[in-house]
Amino acid sequence: MTTVSLTVNGQSVTADVDPRTLLVQFLRDNLRLTGTHVGCDTSQCGACVVHLNGQAVKACTTLVVQANASVVTTIEGIAQGGELHPMQAAFREHHGLQCGYCTPGMIMSAIDIVARKGNGLDEQTIRAELEGNLCRCTGYHNIVKAVAAGAQAMAQAPLRQAAE
C-alpha cells in the first residue's frame, strides 16, 4: 500500500491505496464519485476524462499515484453553487446527450478544448478535437452544437472560468 494526497473537487483527500489503483478506480470506489465512467480498457472512449491540474486526462490510464499532490476536477465539481457550468447547460439545451454515459467525459473534454482552442470553435475543429471521446447515441451532431454553444457561453462567464 502507498499513501496518496490530492485535492478532488476542492476537497483534500488522503488515502492508502494499492499502488496499481487507477485514478478512475480511486474516484469511483474510494470517493464514490461515480460520475466518471469506464467505457473501455484501451484509453479510447473517453468516458473517464477528468481534469488533472487543469488539463484533460483519461482517468482509466492514470494511476492515482500519478495524481499525488495534484488537483483533480471531475464532472461533479464543475457546477458552482447549484448552477450548471455553461458547458453542462449547453449539452442539456442542445440535446447533446441521450443515455448520458459518455456525457461526463464529453463535457470535461469540451471544457479542455475551449481552454486550449478558445471560445470561437468551428465545426471541424470541434469534430477533430473530440477524437478521444466516443458516443454511440447521438451521432455527434448535437454534441458538436453543444460544444460550440458552450464555448461561446464560457466567454460570457469569465469569472466562472477563473474560478475553476
Binding site: R28, C40, C99, R136, C137, G139, H141
Partner: protein, 787 residues
C-alpha cells in the same frame, strides 16, 4: 400545442442528473459486503473440456468461491433460452443446442463462460482465475457464414450440418412465374457485415439475496427487466418470479444488446445465495466484444425482375444467417420475421420469395442490433433497386417513384399490411433538401479536383411498434408484445406513471411526461415517470424495436383515458351535476354551459378524501392501469440521401451531405426524434464505412477492442439535414410510428449506393474502409492493372 405538450421540443428532464454526474448506472451500485465476480472465458473457439481443476484458485488470496457448470447443474439451474420458435420449410422445429450459463463439457466460442471466481476484490478474482487449470481438447472451428453448413465441424450434436433451420416466406411459384416473364433481371451478392453493438456502458450485474425473506434482487443493464425476471425464474430457474426483483436503473445505451438474458446475470443472482453475499460483475470492453450478442452477419444472393416499363415484377432472395455458437434470446426471429416481411420495401412488388438458412458457427451469439433484420432487408432491397435503375439507365429517384406503393392499406406478398404512408412526399422533400438537381454540377466540380463524387438513395421502410401479440404468437414468439402502464394520481394532483417501457437514452422521462401534461393539463414537473423496477411496475415488455412510443405511450394514453373518466365521476358528485354534463378541458372538470369547474388537483383531492360521494357508489382513489396490445405493426418510412466524395489516391471517403426525410407519424418531441435519427445514421454509416467484427479462421476475434474495431468518431461524420413528413399511424391512439431505428436501417445502402455511384461499379463491400475503397477506385481507373 402547449410549451410542454405533444409536439414541443421540451428539454429533457433526465439531463440534470446526467450532465452533473449524478446518473445511477448499475456499476454505480455498491451493496454492503459485496464480492466481485470474474468469469474465466474460453481462449479457444471450439474445444472439449476434459477437466477443470479449480483447486489452485480456491486457495488464492481473497477468493470466496469458484464455480463451474457442474455447480449450476447440481442446483438444477437451466440453460439460457431462445424465446422464438422457428419452423423449417419441412415443418420441423429449429434445432436449439443446449446453452448452459457455465460450460458443460464443451466450449463453442472464444469468450464462452468456463468458470466464475468470486473474490473480495476484482483484482483478486482475476488473479485467481489464472490459477484455474482447464484441460482442453482443442477442436477445429467453423467461423465462416457461407461455409458453416458444409464444414467438417459440428458445433452442436443436435445439428449435424450446423443448420438451425431452413426457413422461407412468400410464394415461390408466383415468384418463379414473375421471373419467367421478366424483361430484365438484376442480380446481386451481398454480405451484411457482423457488428458489435458497443453501447458505451458495458453490461453489469449485481445479484443480492436476503435469507430472511428469501428475496433476490438483481441490478442489471437491461432494456426489459420484466422479461429478464420471467426468463430467470420460469426458464432458468434461478429464483421464483415473485421472489426476484429486477432493477434496471439508468442504462447507458442498449441498441438491442441489453435485451437478452445472459450468463453473467444468471450466475450473479444464483451465486449471491451460494456465497451469502451480494455479487457484482462489470464487463470490461474486451469481454463486451467477446460475449455481448453481435448483430447482422448475413450472406445473401438476391435477384429483382422488372418488365419492359421498369416496373418491378418480382424479388427472390436467399440468405444465410450466422447465429453464432448458441441461440440468443430472440436470435431466431431476427433473420426471419424481422427480415423477410420487410423485403417489399416501399415498393409494389407482386411476387416475393425468400429463403433463409440459419447456421451455427464458433462465434459469439448473434441477435438483435438496432434495426434487427430490417437493416438487412433494406440493404438487400435498396442495393438491388439502385442497381436495377442503373442497369435500366433510369434515374434512381424516378425508378423508385415509379415503383412506390401509393394505395393504402397495401398487403405485400410477405405477410405485412402497410397501413399508411406517402413515399413520394418524402422523396420530393429529400430531393429538394439534398439539392439533387444540381448534383451533376457538384460532381463535375469534384472531378476537376481529382475527386470522385457520388450520390446514393435509400427508400427504407421498417415494421415497428412491435407487436400484436396474437400475430407474433402465430409466428412463434414465446411472449406477447403488448405494453402496460399505470397512472397514479396523488391527492395533491401530481402524477406518477409506471411504465413497462425502459429508457436507456430515449428520453421517456420527458416524452411520456409530455403526453401526461398534454392530456391532463398539468405542468410537466408534476409528472414522474417510473420504470425499470419489477417491484414498482407490475409487468412490461421493455424497450426495443422502436416500440415505446407506439405501444408504451398508447398504454399510458389508455390509462389516462380511464383516469379522466373516473375524474369525471368524482367531479359530478362534487359539483352536484350529472356525469354526462361534465367536460374535461385544459385541466379542468367543468359543468357544460356553466362556469362551475374543478381543477385536476381539486378532483384528485376529492377522490382521495371521499367526502362528497358514497364509497359504495364510487370507489375512492384515482389510479388506473391499462394494457395496450397493438392491432398492427407500424410502418415508419422515409428517404435518406448520402452524397460523398472519394479521394481515389487515398481511398478516403468523406460524406459531404446527409439528407434524411422520415415519416414517423405524430411526433411527441421533435428534438428527441431528430436525435434518434442522428444516432441511427451514425451507426449505419459506421456499418457502411468503418465497423466489422472479424474472426480469424481459428475463431479468434481479432477486432476485440476499440483499437481494432473502428467506432464512428465525430470527425467521421457530417452534420445531418433532417426533415419530416407526417402521415399519422391509424392503428394506435396517438398516431405514432416510431423513430429509434430508422437511421441505422436507412444509412448503409445510402452510403454504399453513393460509393458505387462514385466509382462507377458495384464491387465494394461493407465496411468500405479506405483500403477497400482505394482498391475499388484503382479497379475503376485501371481494370486490368488492379487484377
Amino acid at each position: 400545442m402547449t410549451a410542454t405538450g405533444i409536439g414541443a421540443p421540451v428539454r429533457r428532464k433526465e439531463d440534470q442528473r446526467f450532465v452533473t454526474g449524478q446518473g445511477r448506472y448499475v456499476d454505480d451500485f455498491n451493496r454492503p459486503g459485496q464480492a466481485y465476480a470474474y468469469f474465466l472465458r474460453s481462449p479457444y473457439a471450439h474445444a472439449r473440456i476434459r477437466s477443470i481443476d479449480t483447486g489452485p484458485a480456491t486457495i488464492m488470496p481473497g477468493v470466496v468461491a469458484v464455480f463451474t457448470g457442474d455447480d449450476l447443474a447440481a442446483d438444477k439451474i437451466g440453460g439460457l433460452i431462445c424465446g422464438w420458435m422457428i419452423h423449417s420449410k419441412d415443418g420441423s422445429p429449429m434445432k436449439a443446442g443446449p446453452h448452459p450459463a457455465l460450460a458443460q463439457g464443451k466450449v463453442r466460442y472464444v469468450g464462452d463462460h468456463v468458470a466464475v471466481v468470486i473474490a473480495e476484490t476484482l483484482a483478486q478474482a482475476k488473479d485467481a482465475a489464472e490459477a484455474i487449470v482447464v484441460d482442453y481438447e482443442v477442436l477445429p472451428a467453423v467461423v465462416d457464414t457461407a461455409e458453416a453448413a458444409k464444414a467438417p465441424v459440428q458445433v452442436h450434436d443436435v445439428s449435424p450440418d450446423n443448420t438451425v433451420f431452413n426457413w422461407h416466406l412468400g410464394n415461390k411459384d408466383e415468384t418463379e412465374a414473375a421471373f419467367a416473364r421478366a424483361k430484365h433481371v438484376t442480380k446481386i451478392d451481398l454480405v451484411n457485415n457482423r457488428l458489435v453493438p458497443n453501447p458505451i456502458e458495458p453490461r453489469a450485474a449485481v445479484g443480492e439475496y436476503d435469507p430472511g425473506t428469501d428475496n433476490y434482487t438483481l441490478y442489471t443493464t437491461s432494456q426489459n427487466p420484466h422479461v429478464a425476471r420471467l426468463v430467470l425464474s420460469a426458464f432458468i430457474g434461478v429464483a421464483p418470479e415473485h421472489k426476484l426483483r429486477v432493477i434496471a436503473p439508468d442504462v447507458g445505451g442498449g441498441f438491442g444488446s441489453k435485451i437478452f438474458i445472459y450468463a453473467e446475470e444468471t450466475v450473479c443472482v444464483w451465486a449471491a445465495k451460494k456465497v451469502k453475499r451480494p455479487v457484482k460483475w462489470t464487463s470490461d470492453r474486451t469481454e463486451a466484444f467477446l460475449s455481448d450478442a453481435h448483430g447482422r452477419d448475413h450472406v445473401t444472393h438476391a435477384e429483382m425482375a422488372t418488365d419492359e416499363n421498369g416496373k418491378i415484377l418480382g424479388l427472390r432472395v436467399h440468405t444465410t444467417a450466422n447465429l453464432g455458437a448458441y441461440l440468443s434470446t430472440f436470435s431466431s426471429s431476427v433473420p426471419t420475421y424481422l427480415y423477410a416481411p420487410l423485403l417489399s420495401g416501399q415498393y409494389d412488388i407482386p411476387a416475393i420469395y425468400c429463403e433463409v438458412d440459419a447456421v451455427y458457427t464458433n462465434t459469439a451469439p448473434v441477435d438483435a442490433y438496432r434495426g434487427a433484420g430490417r437493416p438487412e432487408a433494406t440493404y438487400v432491397v435498396e442495393r438491388l433497386v439502385e442497381k436495377t435503375a442503373r442497369e435500366l439507365g433510369q434515374d434512381p429517384a424516378e425508378f423508385r417513384r415509379k415503383n412506390y406503393i401509393t394505395q393504402f392499406p397495401h398487403a405485400t406478398p410477405v405477410i405485412m399490411t402497410y397501413d399508411t404512408g406517402d413515399y413520394a412526399a418524402s422523396l420530393d422533400k429529400a430531393l429538394e433538401i439534398a439539392d439533387y438537381k444540381n448534383f451533376q454540377q457538384r460532381k463535375q466540380e469534384s472531378a476537376r479536383r481529382g475527386k470522385l463524387r457520388g450520390i446514393g438513395f435509400s427508400s427504407y421502410i421498417e415494421a415497428c411498434g412491435i407487436a400484436p401479440s396474437q400475430a407474433v404468437g402465430s409466428l412463434g414468439a414465446g411472449v406477447g408484445l403488448w405494453e402496460s402502464a399505470e397512472v397514479r394520481v396523488n391527492p395533491t394532483g401530481s402524477v406518477e406513471v409506471l411504465t413497462g417501457s425502459h429508457s436507456h437514452g430515449q428520453g421517456h422521462e420527458t416524452t411520456f411526461a409530455q403526453l401526461v401534461s398534454d392530456r391532463l393539463g398539468i405542468p410537466i414537473d408534476q409528472v414522474s415517470i417510473v420504470h425499470g423496477d419489477t417491484d414498482k411496475v407490475q409487468f412490461g415488455m421493455g424497450t426495443y424495436g422502436s416500440r415505446s412510443g407506439a405501444v408504451g405511450m398508447s398504454a399510458i394514453a389508455k390509462a389516462l383515458d380511464k383516469v379522466i373518466a373516473k375524474g369525471r365521476k368524482v367531479a359530478a358528485h362534487v359539483l352536484e351535476a350529472s356525469e354526462g354534463d361534465i367536460e374535461f378541458k385544459d385541466g379542468k372538470f367543468g359543468v357544460a354551459g356553466t362556469d362551475r369547474a374543478l381543477g385536476f388537483g381539486e378532483v384528485a383531492l376529492q377522490a382521495y378524501i371521499a367526502h362528497k360521494f358514497s364509497g359504495q357508489d364510487l370507489e375512492p382513489g384515482l389510479k388506473e392501469g391499462a394494457f395496450y396490445d397493438p392491432t398492427n405493426f407500424t410502418f415508419p418510412a422515409g428517404v435518406h440521401i448520402c452524397e460523398l466524395e472519394i479521394d481515389p489516391d487515398t481511398g478516403v471517403t468523406k460524406i459531404e451531405r446527409w439528407t434524411a426525410v422520415d415519416d414517423f407519424g405524430v411526433i411527441i418531441n421533435p428534438m428527441i426524434v431528430e436525435g434518434q435519427v442522428h444516432g441511427g445514421i451514425a451507426q449505419g454509416v459506421g456499418q457502411a464505412l468503418l465497423e466489422g467484427a472479424v474472426y480469424d479462421q481459428s475463431g479468434q476475434l481479432v477486432t476485440a477492442s476499440f483499437n481494432d474495431y473502428c467506432m464512428p468518431r465525430a470527425i467521421d461524420l457530417p452534420s445531418f439535414q433532417v426533415g419530416m413528413t407526417v402521415t399519422p399511424c391509424p392503428s394506435n391512439p396517438l398516431g405514432i410510428k416510431g423513430c429509434g431505428e430508422a437511421g441505422a436501417i436507412a444509412a448503409p445502402p445510402a452510403v454504399i449506393n453513393a460509393i458505387t455511384d462514385a466509382l462507377g461499379h458495384e464491387d465494394i463491400a461493407m465496411p468500405a474502409t479506405p483500403q477497400a475503397v482505394w482498391r475499388a477506385a484503382q479497379k475503376a481507373r485501371m481494370p486490368v492493372a488492379a487484377e
